[in-house]
């Protein structure tokens, strides 16, 4: 997606440890004009699919998932992050490790909102090691929900996330795929 790549080049910041900071337009301050284009692009990428819901995880995925859901006219579900497992039986849960925060968390979705009758696109702002994405796949699988595919805004293609997800048999559509950030220079696939 040309507009997104241009924005990453002009406004993204490469920090030590292969961190790409895009908090001026995607995950702290959000450029809503760009966001609307991102929503349309995901609709194009999955235009032939039957989709009943969009699944994401708080917090940065929510705005992207919301505009995508608008394009499909379906609800969004955002998985919640918690520190401990529920005692009750009301939620699908999966543990995931956050490399950004260097700790594990429990991802949860209420059993009321995902079922075997649903077909979801899983949306997230970043794909790096694939931990969050794999947890969402796990939750959808627990619910018996069909996973139409995975939609990612920015993929760090030099990390293992895409391979892990493809090895599970799912289609990954990333709007910008970054091959390298060496010497602070962003190169796309």
């Amino acid at each position: 997606m040309k507009l997104l790549k241009e924005k990453i080049i002009s406004d993204g910041q490469v920090l030590e440890g292969n961190i790409l900071k895009v908090d001026s337009f995607l995950n702290h301050q959000i450029d809503v004009q760009l966001l609307l284009e991102i929503g349309k692009e995901f609709k194009n990428r999955f235009s032939n699919e039957k989709v009943t819901k969009i699944l994401t995880v708080e917090a940065s995925g929510i705005s992207v998932a919301t505009v995508t859901a608008m394009n499909f006219s379906v609800p969004v579900i955002f998985a919640k992050k918690g520190e401990s497992k529920n005692q009750d039986d009301e939620a699908y849960e999966c543990e995931a490790f956050s490399f950004t925060r260097n700790k594990s968390y429990i991802m949860k979705v209420s059993k009321k909102y995902l079922s075997k009758d649903d077909s979801v696109i899983i949306i997230d702002d970043f794909l790096a090691n694939g931990e969050a994405c794999k947890a969402m796949i796990d939750i959808a699988t627990q619910a018996g929900t069909k996973i139409v595919g995975i939609g990612i805004v920015i993929e760090k293609s030099f990390q293992s996330g895409r391979k892990k997800i493809e090895d599970l048999g799912y289609k990954v559509e990333s709007l910008a795929r970054i091959k390298s950030m060496k010497n602070n220079k962003i190169q796309f696939v």
Copy 2:
């Protein structure tokens, strides 16, 4: 806002401790048709104002703030929640207490994204005790940013939040104001 009130009556659940559960359409699963109407309604309520950004806090405020920002064609900023104060000087920070989680957290906004040239509407899904809202006001005030007003989806008018915000001198626009939830019966102001 009639559509919202009808949705609260039909799909909201009153739980013990004055908790109103609206996770089927607002803060876990999100009804995007309703959300689009909410965005339009906030635009109507603040139609005469100059607005440069919409300010909210993760996670449940993000989708509401995003559709509101679309209607004003301005960026969204969502404040982040952390456990500790930053060592650096890059963010405006304010401590807030969460009654839902029964603990305090630090709300943060990067200094890059709010300034004295900005005029913001502060948006949130709920107003109860006003803690999150007061923290956002504090952050905007630190930045010298003009606060146009506060936009709330659901206000628990039997709690102290509105009074606290109005006492600070700000206009509060709530799309549904709940007077009472006694005996599981929701009554609006």
